[in-house]
Every structure is written in structure tokens, then in C-alpha cells.
């Protein structure tokens, strides 16, 4: 890559496009920059090496070596832990590079897990997988701050997601709300904010921008214990909240691909809105015995921050169809209330809402000559039409024609857009 860049540079100098002096300055700039950067490849391999060795140790120890005495087995339980702690301590004291800190941090993370699991094994200590995960996560969480290790950060999010699912979905025989998951996430937030502030454009931060909302989406259901209808409505508020986080100032100058909150929020909103767009959904009686204090508190805790973000972003002063995605979850509160008058009103309004979301996204795509938005908008409308076919009695001919029209719409709009792009150039 570098040699190719140098070749291009010398070509530009030869053809007098840039002066030799400028060429040298550019070359020096990139040389200095790459020298200051730690060896990324080494860091990645270091982390993967530690990950594999750590997991390997857990598996080898899980064999439960019968021939060893209890004391030897106990010594084996502490050995990886002490080695991990020694390497981490050494890396801190000797101010070793980031590669050392990341790799040793990952090793220590798994050493802690193997140590607790082996002790539980030796003494047959009861306890399900979730309590084991919780102890493990809480013992390693400080490493995120002490070592500033991003890999331990990722592992903590992944394992706390597994913990929440195990406890909340009854994988180990006990179903309970994983409240400690919220505490773990809250403890991780300061470090995440710091990364967003100082290392916003880095890929590791972008990965966190995806991991955080993804973990929340996966675990959110474990906090709800209501009927399908209420849970779906709360999910709409939740995705609206995620979408609005993605609209915060700190994320605004980020490339969309690096903004997991925005993409997951948008996709989630679309899917939940489509699910709520059937007449069957609104026709069924809403059973209020399923609404517990927990669900009400969760709804308030989602809706209030959404409203404050909308206020902060001054969305209310520029209400338009164009930014409907931002306030659609709030609008859904009123749509829900309208079912008290007649169940056909929320059915109509939800369908209209999804349609407007589609049209506004297409418009956004056309205005900014962006194919992704244009086709996403078209997909929203296609999805709405496709899903309506399941619960309406439209003749096959009409359905076929509608599909043809939308298909032609895809071709025409993309063609027109391509033409517009050409003329703009």
C-alpha cells in the first residue's frame, strides 16, 4: 500500500502536478504518522492469541483431572490467574505498549473465569451459569478503566449480554429480571463517553457504537413481562429512543455506518411499526392486567430521555415529515390512545406513519442524491405493501399489479437518480 502511494506521489511530481517540495512534505507527513501509530497487526494477533489461550485453559481445566489431589487442582486454579496478574502488573509498571496491555488484559479476563470455574468444580459449589458470569464480569470490569483495554470492554459487553439472556430467558432454570446488567452497563458508560469524546473516529469506538445498542436490543426483552401488544408498543418506544441517541450531536458528524444506534433504531422502528400495522393487532382487546409497575417505569424511563433529546436537538421547532423517524415513537403514544375511540383509527394511522416514513426516506435520498436512502425508502414501502397483502382481501390481479408498479418504481427512481448524479457532475 505504501509503495503504491509512493509510486503515485513520484508520478505526480514527474508530471508537474505537485512540486517536489510538496511531494516530500506529503511523504514526510505520512511517514511520521505511521511511525507514531502502534503496530495494529501485532495488537490484533496479541489479543487473539490471548483469547485462544485463555479459552483453551478454561476448557483444559474443565476436563476435571481426577488423578490430581485437591491441593494440586487448587494450585492449578490459581496459576493462570497469578500469571495473568503478573503480566498485567509488569505491563503497567514497565509502561509497555498498548499491545501488551490489551493482550495481557484479555488473558487475565479468561484467567479469572477459569479460576472461579475450577474452584466451583473442585468443591461442587452449586450455582447456575448466570451467577458465575456475574462474579466473573464484576471482577474484570475494573480492568476496562485500569488498563484502558478496549478488548476487555468488548468482552464485558458480550458476557453481560449472555448473563442477561441466561437469567432473563430462563436458560438455567431460574427466570429473573437481570437488573445487574443495567448496573454493569452504567459502570461502562463513563469509559464509553470518554472514548466518544477523544477517539470518536476510531474503528474500536465505532465497534462500541454497534455493540452497545445491539446488546441493549438483545437484552431489552428480558426486562419486560407483559402481553404481546404492550411489549411491542414498548419496543417501539425503545427503538425510538435508540434512534434519537444516534441523532445526538456527538454522533452527528459520524459516518452512518459507524452509528449503530441510528441504524438499529431505524430498522427496529420499521420492523415493530410494521408488526403493529395490522388491523388484528389493534382489534384485539388490550388486557390491562398485563401492565405492571415495572413496564410503566420502563416506558417512562425510555420516553422521557427521548423527549429531552428531541428538545435538545430542537426537533419540535422544525417538525416535518422529513424527520418523522425521530418523533414517530412519541406520536405512537397518541396513536395508541386513539384506539379508545375506534380500533380502525390506530390501524389507519400506523399504516400512514410507515408510508410517510418510506416517502420521507425516498425524498431524503433524492435530495441528497443518496442511493442508500432512496432504496431504503422504497424497501419500507414494499414491506408495507407486502405485509398488507396478508390481512386484506385484495384480488390477485391487483396485488400483482401493485408489485409490478413498485418494482418499476425501483428501476425508474434509481435511473432518474443516476441521471441526476451525472448532470450534477
Amino acid at each position: 500500500m505504501k509503495s503504491k502511494f509512493r509510486q503515485e506521489l513520484s508520478k505526480l511530481i514527474e508530471e508537474d502536478i505537485i512540486s517536489e517540495e510538496i511531494g516530500n512534505r506529503i511523504d514526510n507527513y505520512y511517514n511520521n504518522n505511521s511511525r507514531n501509530q502502534p503496530n495494529r497487526l501485532l495488537t490484533i494477533f496479541g489479543i487473539f492469541g490471548s483469547l485462544l489461550v485463555g479459552l483453551g485453559i478454561i476448557l483444559v481445566l474443565a476436563n476435571n483431572w481426577d488423578d490430581f489431589s485437591k491441593i494440586i487442582k487448587t494450585a492449578f486454579a490459581f496459576l493462570p490467574l497469578l500469571i495473568g496478574q503478573f503480566i498485567v502488573g509488569f505491563s503497567i509498571l514497565k509502561k509497555k505498549s498498548n499491545t501488551w496491555l490489551e493482550a495481557s488484559g484479555v488473558f487475565l479476563f479468561f484467567a479469572v473465569g477459569s479460576s472461579i470455574s475450577l474452584i466451583s468444580q473442585i468443591y461442587n459449589i452449586p450455582g447456575n451459569l448466570s451467577s458465575f458470569f456475574l462474579t466473573w464480569i464484576l471482577l474484570c470490569l475494573p480492568l476496562v478503566y485500569v488498563l484502558k483495554s478496549k478488548t476487555v470492554f468488548f468482552l464485558t459487553i458480550v458476557f453481560s449480554t449472555v448473563y442477561a439472556c441466561d437469567l432473563g430467558c430462563n436458560f438455567s432454570g431460574i427466570r429473573a429480571t437481570p437488573w445487574m446488567y443495567i448496573l454493569i452497563m452504567a459502570l461502562l458508560l463513563p469509559s464509553y463517553f470518554k472514548l466518544l469524546k477523544n477517539e470518536k473516529s476510531k474503528n474500536t469506538t465505532a465497534l462500541l457504537n454497534w455493540l452497545f445498542p445491539l446488546s441493549l436490543v438483545i437484552t431489552f426483552g428480558t426486562f419486560l413481562n407483559s402481553s404481546y401488544q404492550f411489549e411491542l408498543l414498548i419496543y417501539i418506544f425503545f427503538f425510538g429512543f435508540l434512534y434519537n441517541i444516534g441523532q445526538l450531536k456527538i454522533f452527528q458528524k459520524l459516518r452512518i455506518a459507524k452509528n449503530g444506534f441510528l441504524i438499529l433504531g431505524s430498522l427496529g422502528l420499521l420492523i415493530t411499526m410494521l408488526l403493529a400495522s395490522s388491523h388484528y393487532f389493534w382489534k384485539g382487546n388490550f388486557d390491562y392486567s398485563f401492565v405492571n409497575t415495572k413496564e410503566i417505569i420502563i416506558t417512562i424511563l425510555i420516553v422521557l430521555p427521548t423527549l429531552s433529546i428531541l428538545y435538545l436537538n430542537k426537533t419540535f421547532s422544525k417538525l416535518a415529515f422529513g424527520n418523522l423517524f425521530q418523533y414517530v415513537s412519541i406520536v405512537m403514544i397518541f396513536v395508541f390512545l386513539s384506539h379508545f375511540i375506534d380500533d380502525r383509527i390506530p390501524f389507519f394511522l400506523t399504516n400512514l406513519g410507515v408510508f410517510i416514513l418510506g416517502v420521507s426516506t425516498i425524498k431524503k435520498g433524492v435530495d441528497s442524491t443518496n442511493f442508500t436512502f432512496l432504496n431504503y425508502g422504497l424497501l419500507i414501502i414494499t414491506a408495507l405493501i407486502a405485509i398488507r397483502f396478508f390481512d386484506t382481501d385484495i384480488s390477485f390481479v391487483l396485488r400483482g399489479l401493485l408489485f409490478i408498479i413498485v418494482g418499476v418504481g425501483f428501476f425508474v427512481s434509481n435511473y432518474l437518480m443516476a441521471k441526476k448524479m451525472k448532470s450534477n457532475r
Binding site: 476435571n64 498485567v88 502488573g89 479460576s115 474452584i119 468444580q121 473442585i122 474484570c140 478503566y145 485500569v146
Partner: protein
Amino acid sequence: MKSTKIIFGLFILVAIAQLLVPTKMIYDQENTLKKGKAYKFITEPIDPSDPFRGKYIVLNYEISRYKTMDTTWVRSQEIFVYLKDSLGFAKIDTISKEKLNSKKDYLQTNVDWYDSYNKELNINIPFNRFYMEESKAKPAEDLVRNSTNLNELSTTYALVYVDGSNFVLNNVFVDDVAIKDAIDAQNKN
């Protein structure tokens, strides 16, 4: 340099916590083994596995079903199971919804479900996992099944040390031979 010292100091605290948790786990177990009374719980094992802690056999205890006319039990309700020794094996003395003012050893656990047809209370016995070397967990299950099939008087029991509410599952025996040794002997034959 100062910040390195602070970070190292913080790390030492984390490391101590990481060492303390497993040490405390060991201390609690050893303490119960030393001070506790040994009970034999008649059981029947089956083998599943845990992704991190390895293979284990699940122990189904005879005392996990308790005849009672009281029907007011709720699933997952906390209960106190008081133990007594009867002909060398552990039996339930009484089950209470509250902690009793008694010096008897007890298990603090919860209700699985109440079988109103048989008037039986099914309880969760907390020490139901016995970890074994991965190659021995399945043979352990087969061994117990075969020995019960061949000889009706054959008994499999778990040796559990109980001290107040603390307990340690020490070993599992098939006709007074440690299950691990029984499998070794079977493999030699």
C-alpha cells in the same frame, strides 16, 4: 510516573479482589468440611455438561419429595428444610416457611412445585451437581443404573457436610465405593 503508580495501585486492588473471591470460596467450603456433620443423601445421577465448568452429574435426591398435607406452597417460595439422621441416611425432619429456633442442620432452598394428587412437595436440593472428569460422567450414570437393575438393595448416596446452613457436597458413593473408584475398577475389569 505518578499516574503509573496510581494505576498500578488500583490494579493491585483489583488483583486482590480477583484472588480474594476464589480464596473465600475455598475457605467457606473447607470450613464446612471441617466443622460440618456428614450426611448421606440417597440419590440417582444423570450426566449433563456446563460450557465453562465441564461435565457433571445431576443428582436426583430421594428427599426432594416430601409428603405433606399442607397445600399452601408457592413455586420458588423460600423454605427451610431441617435434617435428621435416620439409619445412617439423611431424612427430612421438618420443612418450614420460616427459619425455626432450632440447632438442627438445615438447607435454605426453595419449592419446586406441589403435587396435589400425591400430596407431595417437590423441593430443589441445592447441591445437585457433582463435577467429574469428562470421560467419567456418562459411565457414572450407566454404572448406577446397572447396579440398581442388578441389585435392588444397591444404594447410591451423596456424602454432604452440613454446618448450620452451609454445605459441601464431598463425594458420591455407589454401595460405599467412591463413584470415581467404582468407574476405575469397572474400566480395569
